[in-house]
């Protein structure tokens, strides 16, 4: 086990992910370049070229094909990982429920990036949240060590016979993907010890057992007497949902095993807290927003506000029970979303509200939208948000309107698309 920072390598987030994929000894990688994930793919190609990774790298012609190759390779029995961002993930979308529905333990590293239109290469969490309903486990990381550690844990969780689910490991594009931080890379034999070889439940490569995989499945169960009785679509999807719900137990188990073995932990594996116990006011966020929020806690405490932080690590399955237990006695929760569930509120905000539904005395919850398209999330915005929330709580104003922090509308009084194209005399 590597302990001290002296043993750390200085790595970008992308490279941390690539090193993790190398050390878990993926058998097949299929990936397509997209900003800001491309260096992951390049690094893997470099590892293979240098003989450091013995994997087949299928250099596909699109992300849709990337996940299709991953699905087929996993079903054939190989350990599979890949990486993408934003529109790459959206192009894979058709294959996402296919992966979870077939219960394939595939890991995708997601360097988060805004969705167009308009075109943007900068980070926000919109790509990460758009795929929340298709049955994948989703983690969000705050630093590069966490990216590496979460990848190692993700494979172990995904391949657990009680789980068999695909996993997304998210991390902010540029902020983490391209920023160098110290990362401790563990010894290969310790990684091998932590993550045993894959025992795939499908494994088409064993042709002694003929299997049809993923045929048309009717609404009904099917009974062929002595030949057997099989589930209908409804039962298969019930099993997927229950496996997801149940995976929280295994996620915490693997997190604790990792902490025991390697000496690094991330809260309870579901969320991390800071200045929590005596706090009345909680800032709730994930990823880059949470790491920015850590900086304002003392600033707000200096003003006499007892503020703490909950940084969500496990986004799916949503740890509703655990969050409810954690937050039920807090007075105010200020949620900062680097995303919007368009047509409603920030996703973290309304999902938290729903998890805390039904409490006799529920905390006052207020959400803000920050940092879309890579707009910097600043201390000023976070402090402003906390103050506004407290004011609205005083007047008991509960609003479902989204409030944005960090807009520059006041600079844009002269902009009108209707007149924009007219020549300036």
């Amino acid at each position: 086990m590597n302990n001290a920072m002296e043993d750390a390598t200085i790595l970008t987030g992308n490279n941390a992910a690539a090193h993790a994929l190398r050390q878990v000894k993926v058998g097949v990688v299929a990936a397509y370049p997209i900003t800001p994930q491309s260096p992951v793919v390049e690094k893997i190609a470099e590892f293979i070229n240098e003989g450091k990774l013995n994997a087949r790298f299928v250099k596909v012609e699109s992300e849709h094909s990337a996940l299709a190759v991953c699905v087929a390779a996993s079903a054939t029995g190989s350990r599979v990982g890949t990486a993408t961002s934003a529109h790459g993930l959206e192009l894979m979308y058709e294959m996402l429920p296919w992966t979870s529905g077939n219960r394939l333990p595939i890991i995708i590293n997601l360097a988060t990036r805004s969705l167009g239109a308009p075109w943007s290469v900068w980070t926000d969490h919109s790509d990460f949240i758009t795929i929340r309903d298709v049955g994948w486990i989703q983690f969000m990381c705050e630093d590069n060590q966490e990216i590496y550690d979460t990848n190692l844990q993700a494979f172990k969780i995904a391949e657990d016979h009680r789980v068999n689910l695909p996993v997304i490991v998210g991390y902010d594009g540029y902020i983490l993907s391209h920023t160098m931080m110290p990362v401790v890379l563990e010894d290969q034999k310790d990684v091998d010890d932590f993550l045993p070889p894959l025992k795939h439940h499908i494994n088409l490569s064993d042709i002694s057992q003929v299997k049809g995989i993923d045929p048309v499945t009717t609404p009904h169960t099917r009974d062929r007497g002595s030949e057997g009785r099989v589930p209908g679509y409804f039962e298969y999807r019930y099993a997927l949902q229950k496996a997801l719900e149940n995976s929280i137990e295994i996620i915490q188990e693997v997190h604790d095993d990792f902490a025991n073995k390697f000496g690094r932990s991330y809260g309870n594996g579901l969320f991390k807290t800071a200045e929590f116990d005596d706090a009345d006011i909680i800032i709730f966020a994930m990823g880059s927003v949470a790491s920015q929020a850590r900086v304002v806690l003392n600033k707000l405490r200096d003003k006499g506000l007892k503020v703490g932080l909950v940084s969500l690590k496990l986004f799916r399955p949503y740890p509703a029970k655990q969050l409810r237990e954690l937050l039920k006695d807090k007075k105010t929760i200020v949620v900062f979303d680097r995303d919007i569930g368009y047509g409603y509120e920030g996703v973290l905000c309304y999902e938290l509200k729903s998890a805390l539904y039904g409490l006799k005395e529920s905390p006052f919850i207020k959400g803000f939208i920050v940092g879309l398209g890579g707009r910097d999330v600043t201390n000023e915005q976070l402090i402003e948000g906390v103050n506004r929330a407290l004011n609205q709580q005083k007047t008991e104003e509960i609003s479902q309107n989204t409030e944005f922090l960090g807009l520059k509308l006041e600079e844009l009084n002269d902009y009108d698309e209707a007149t924009f194209f007219k020549e300036v005399k």
């Binding site: 529905g101 299997k211 995989i213 993923d214 496996a243």
Partner: protein, 100 residues
């Protein structure tokens, strides 16, 4: 940690194992069935392993490559390809009474 599998842990992805007659007894698709006139059938007449066009062209492989060829009427869909491809027109489609 109990080792007993929960109900949902026994169900993963939708999978299949091979069976005969997956679509049921497809012989019920047609009341007309092929009948081979053994007096005309080439391998029967010559006693030699020959012709077997009916076996070759059957899309559902319900005709055996034997002397004489036999047709599995439980699964024959009555398409009639064998009647067309028999070079000596030894096969004809006939109305067959369907067992209740």
């Amino acid at each position: 940690m109990t080792n007993v599998k929960k109900d949902y842990q026994k169900i993963l992805g939708s999978v299949q194992k091979p069976v005969k007659g997956e679509a049921g007894k497809t012989g019920s698709w047609s009341s007309k069935k092929p009948v081979i006139d053994l007096d005309k059938c080439i391998p029967v007449k010559s006693g030699k392993f020959s012709c077997f066009n009916c076996w070759l062209y059957c899309p559902d492989a319900v005709i055996t490559r034997t002397i004489p060829p036999t047709i599995d009427l439980e699964y024959c869909k009555g398409c009639g390809i064998c009647t067309e491809e028999c070079p000596v027109k030894a096969i004809s489609m006939e109305e067959v009474k369907i067992d209740e």
